[in-house]
Symmetry: C2
Subunit: 226 residues, 2 copies
Amino acid sequence: MMMMVRKSKGLGERHQRILDFIASYQREHKHPPSIREIGEHCNISSTSVVNYYLDQLEKTGHIERDRKISRGLRLTGNTPLGDMFRVPILGVIQAGEPIPVPTNADFGSFTPEDSVEIATSLMPAKEKGKELFALQVQGESMIDAMINDGDIVILKPTQDARNGEMVAVWLSDRNETTLKYYYKEKDGYRLQPANPTMKPIMLKKTEALEIKGKVVMVIRKVEKYN
Amino acid sequence: MMMMVRKSKGLGERHQRILDFIASYQREHKHPPSIREIGEHCNISSTSVVNYYLDQLEKTGHIERDRKISRGLRLTGNTPLGDMFRVPILGVIQAGEPIPVPTNADFGSFTPEDSVEIATSLMPAKEKGKELFALQVQGESMIDAMINDGDIVILKPTQDARNGEMVAVWLSDRNETTLKYYYKEKDGYRLQPANPTMKPIMLKKTEALEIKGKVVMVIRKVEKYN
DNA sequence: ATAATACTCGAACGCCTGTTCTGTGTCAAG
DNA sequence: CTTGACACAGAACAGGCGTTCGAGTATTAT
């Protein structure tokens, strides 16, 4: 009477494993792996089984294959080709609501639609871990941080920051989320807007200040809107 | 008394032919060609000869090879891998100076250091031509466009714009370069800053207005600077 | 229970592909 | 002329690799 529980979601663990391996192998060797190599690294002892999964991944549109041609497979939608990062967009950030932080941190399974690709060459070289996440800005409340509606901010989750870093904070007193430059001072904290024509927010030490992450990059897709 | 004239320059015609074929094959099939395929399309009837040239191209650093692995060769320097764009950074944009536009437009030969890689997935899908160029913003004069010192703006060269598009303009009257939203009105032009708290620039039709390009994307690398 | 699916394994087949070896013709230096 | 580097061809070899087939096991539906 129960429906299929076997592989509840679209992708099973094995599928994800293979996908990840292809990505990392490609990143390292600059070319796709062979069926047998996939089998070895994913604990699959038969080439036919790998082929079996590859067929499924092809049907579901996750990969493309050039049958009969050695290593003729590639990831679709994305191609983590050695110098790309895929950062998940966890949600939106807007003034009235808390920031969705990576809770159950599933940094492995996110669809291409809900993520952005970043060239590693644009990265500060330090933050090349996979612990980054992205948020889409909604509303014009971040305009004092020179960030506009629709912009995508890429954050590195952290609870503390150093002076001068731009951070995403949740001010529980004001029930507000904002992006500001962070400065710790003797009396408390100073949250400096990026736009120098605007006044900073001063906070006493007693006031709640929850740092959710530091801004690593801002991406703005400029499109016509007339 | 004459030195060897046989193959005067570094690359012979055959080498170039092979290089071009690899590039086009890769672009079309998403994976490198095999030795035999190279031979067929380059009128080389022996695999050993192809191998012979491939060895040379490897020594001269034009390609890399993974011996023993099918189609284990790739072009170096660049990797036209289907979903990346390399946009040349032609220079800086700052208030007091004209914008360096792609003059002799050598969109083919620029070093990786002077360019940025953009994922096509971030592109508005329209501007996927290679006619894009990038400028690095210097100074804080663009702050009214929510663009900060060090930001990289990616432009599409054009002389005219539609209402609502952000354009890079050179105001010869004021001897100034700026980024503004463009609006054509009955009396002239309105250049609207992105920040709504700031007043727009109104121009009569008689005043000079040189549109240099429209902004397609803005990239900001946020790094600590304390 | 029984049948239908989903999944897994192992082996064999055969094409694909890079490598290597032998041989030929050309051209310039000694 | 002889020598040797260079450019090229063709054939044969060996391993890589995708494919296919037969068979077995677990899970679910009827």
